[in-house]
């Protein structure tokens, strides 16, 4: 064994972003070492989970041959919940039933295992149960990593940090400051097992078809957050998450677990879960700071991908596709630099930033850059409006002796009373700003 181990790239982390990077580089012939701190790839990862086929197709075009996929999604439901009701919009299309399918529900434990096996087939070396303690610097250049094992130093031309939302490496190296509680959400989820046929009957789907329900409203108890319910092959995933700073501020009132339990009891949700057994419960942090919370993601001999770089589009609940895409873009940056014989300096790795800016990743994050702030500072979007909208719907849809015009007036006045005219206008403006 050589005294000093050297690789073209070291990837820290074997989640979706790390796997995307490692796979792409190994496939093009680079010598890659991937270091995962968990017992096996995926053991430290948690997600809803939805797989965005487009992002994975660009890395492994024929992934559908053997990747473990639960159901392909044909219907999306968006619900705004009050305490005992909800107003929803659904979109379902037969186009989603035409292969190749665009989104799938997956079970992360199995998916990560599969993705990792592909990475190793491509020629990357993977070691697990190994934690990278710190980056090895030569001046301001990252030249390798130091791990928590004997003789634990290994060197590379570039180190790609794919070490997730809790990443400490970049912070230790001084590349960016501590993560703020207002920039992460704490989400919890459960998997409930349920017979396949029952799921299909209840959600009006056939074999292999899936439904996604995204929820917002009173279920988050006044805090900024969302809930979700996904159909897997023979289980349902239900979860809810809110800003960590909100949980901390409301510690006496609601814990993530309490929110989840309350959500499961909601009269519109409970019937969907009837007959589900055997809970598997987990929790995780999700970066939610958006555009403004993204740190510097490249430097002299290093790049950051995935959650570690805050690449999550909270509005559309997209994270794993950004993870895979950023991983791929970082890999491509390195591959191109190596092919052109360039040294792996900050100037050269700047290409990574350019690729990000040109892709949907930064474009989407930029579009929604104000969203976190707007929603965080305006809890009425999670409490008052869901109430108003639900009551409005109830008023309009209840057939009684009241004439429709009176009903309309009732609705408008309830809005005005609640938020005042200027408040309403202001809210509309804020929403516009957030979504622009």
């Amino acid at each position: 064994m050589t005294a000093k181990q050297h690789f073209d790239a070291i990837v820290v982390g074997a989640g979706p972003s790390g796997n995307a990077a490692a796979y792409t580089m190994a496939k093009s012939g680079l010598k890659v070492l991937q270091i995962e701190r968990g017992e096996y790839p995926g053991s430290k990862n948690v997600q809803g989970a939805i797989l965005y086929a487009d992002a994975l197709e660009r890395i492994i075009p024929d992934f559908r041959d053997d990747a473990p996929l639960e159901r392909h999604i044909i219907e999306q439901r968006m619900w705004v919940l009050d305490d005992e009701s909800f107003v929803g919009s659904h979109f379902r299309s037969e186009d989603y039933n035409k292969p190749p399918y665009n989104r799938y529900t997956i079970i992360r434990a199995q998916f990560d295992k599969w993705f990792s096996s592909k990475v190793r087939e491509a020629g990357a070396l993977l070691i697990c149960e190994t934690t990278v303690n710190h980056l090895i610097m030569d001046g301001d250049k990252v030249v390798g990593v130091s791990c928590d094992r004997e003789a634990g130093e290994v060197f590379a031309d570039v180190v790609i940090l794919a070490d997730g939302v809790n990443s400490t490496l970049a912070r230790k190296a001084g590349f960016h400051p501590e993560i703020k509680a207002s920039n992460v959400a704490l989400a919890v989820k459960e998997i409930l097992f349920m017979p396949e046929e029952l799921i299909q009957q209840r959600f009006n789907i056939k074999e292999d078809e899936g439904v996604v329900i995204e929820m917002v409203g009173k279920i988050t108890d006044g805090m900024m957050g969302t809930g979700f319910l996904y159909t897997n092959k023979d289980s349902l995933t239900i979860g809810i998450g809110c800003m960590l700073s909100d949980f901390k501020a409301n510690a006496a009132k609601s814990s993530p677990y309490q929110l989840l339990e309350a959500m499961k009891k909601h009269p519109s949700i409970a019937p969907l879960l009837q007959g589900g057994e055997m809970k598997e419960y987990c929790a995780h942090l999700i970066p939610e700071g958006g555009f403004f919370a993204i740190p510097k993601v490249y430097g002299n001999g290093w790049m950051i991908v995935g959650d570690s770089g805050g690449f999550v589009n909270a509005v559309h609940r997209e994270g794993s596709n950004l993870a895979m895409t950023t991983g791929r873009l970082a890999a491509e940056t390195l591959i191109e630099a190596k092919a052109a014989g360039k040294p792996i300096t900050e100037a050269v790795l700047k290409t990574y930033q350019r690729k990000l800016d040109e892709s949907f990743v930064m474009k989407d994050l930029k579009k929604y850059r104000d969203m976190p702030k707007v929603f965080h500072e305006n809890p009425q979007f999670f409490t008052t409006y869901p109430e108003l909208i639900n009551r409005a719907a109830q008023t309009m849809l209840t057939v009684d002796n009241v004439d429709k015009k009176t009903k309309e007036r009732q609705i408008f006045s309830s809005f005005r009373q609640s938020r005042s005219f200027t408040g309403l206008v202001g809210d509309a403006f804020k929403l516009w700003r957030a979504f622009r």
Partner: protein
């Protein structure tokens, strides 16, 4: 010295659960691990290698994914790993398994003389503790099970002295190599692999043998055909019809509840009170 350590890849049974409706095993997401008992035997073998030099080969009869388990053993320091894998082995009980492993060890022996064979005390999925003794019998090796400590190894003289756990004490046994040893649990602590060892293991190509490579000729002795034991049914334990009689703390004091409990216990188990009194007066 050449030491062969037999290992098995097993589901982490601590994480296995039964589906409450279908009563089948939910294997989804249950990680596969090296049978924990095997690691004590592996560590002991590695210590002998540290002391006397030589080579440690890990051997496994299993499906293709068992390669992971072998690779893990290489990361701890095993020099070579052999996976004997073939569809014909499916359904093997312990008799058929020991037949296949004995054949593979004989083949390894023909490459380099084997001084010691280690197996784990038992597996966490089968729990039978039969494969070690089975291999020893088939190969004519001296068998030393439940070894708590290796006292002395005389490589030149070809002898080994061990302490073996029995009822109420420990036997001191001395025998000639080649011998087969199963180590008791918690007799040692597995070393941490160094980073270079981890990387080497990640790059290591596990040797894969089919039944022909392992020089197994008699196909009636392996897999389902070679297994005298037949599983006639698998089922979940029946829940008891009566659940516990619950004593509620809310409406009464803890003191009252405990007194009620005592009365119930003594009524239900009449001889208990006298036993306790006898013990106290003794």
């Amino acid at each position: 010295m050449h030491i062969v350590v037999c290992i098995k890849q097993v589901p982490d049974s601590a994480q296995i659960r039964v589906h409450p409706v279908t009563n089948t095993i939910m294997r989804q997401g249950v990680p596969a691990i090296v049978n924990p008992y095997d690691l004590f035997s592996l560590e002991e073998a590695l210590r002998l290698k540290d002391q006397f030099g030589g080579k440690v080969t890990v051997l496994c009869m299993g499906p293709p994914q068992a390669e992971e388990a072998l690779r893990k053993c290489v990361s701890f320091g095993a020099d070579e790993a052999v996976l004997v894998t073939d569809r014909a082995f499916a359904g093997a009980d312990t008799l058929a398994t020991s037949y296949a492993l004995a054949a593979a060890i004989r083949k390894l022996n023909s490459e380099q003389k084997v001084d010691l064979v280690f197996t784990g005390k038992q597996t966490i999925d089968g729990d039978t503790a039969q494969v070690g003794p089975g291999i020893a019998k088939r190969m004519g090796l001296q068998l030393l099970t439940y070894v708590s400590r290796i006292v002395e190894t005389d490589v030149d003289g070809g002898t080994i002295t061990v302490e073996r756990r029995g009822e109420g004490g420990v036997q001191v046994l001395k025998t000639q190599m080649p011998a087969l040893i199963t180590m008791l649990e918690n007799t040692n602590e597995m070393r941490f692999a160094s980073l270079p060892a981890m990387i080497q293991a990640a790059a290591y190509q596990v040797r894969k043998w089919s039944k022909e490579d392992a020089a197994i000729e008699d196909l009636t002795k392996i897999g389902l055909k070679g297994s005298p034991t037949v599983v006639s049914k698998v089922f979940g334990p029946t829940p008891r019809s009566e659940k516990a009689e619950m004593l509620v703390l809310e409406n009464s004091t803890l003191r009252d509840v405990t007194l009620t409990l005592l009365q119930s216990i003594f009524t239900r188990q009449p001889t208990l009170e006298q036993d306790l009194l006898d013990k106290l007066s003794a």
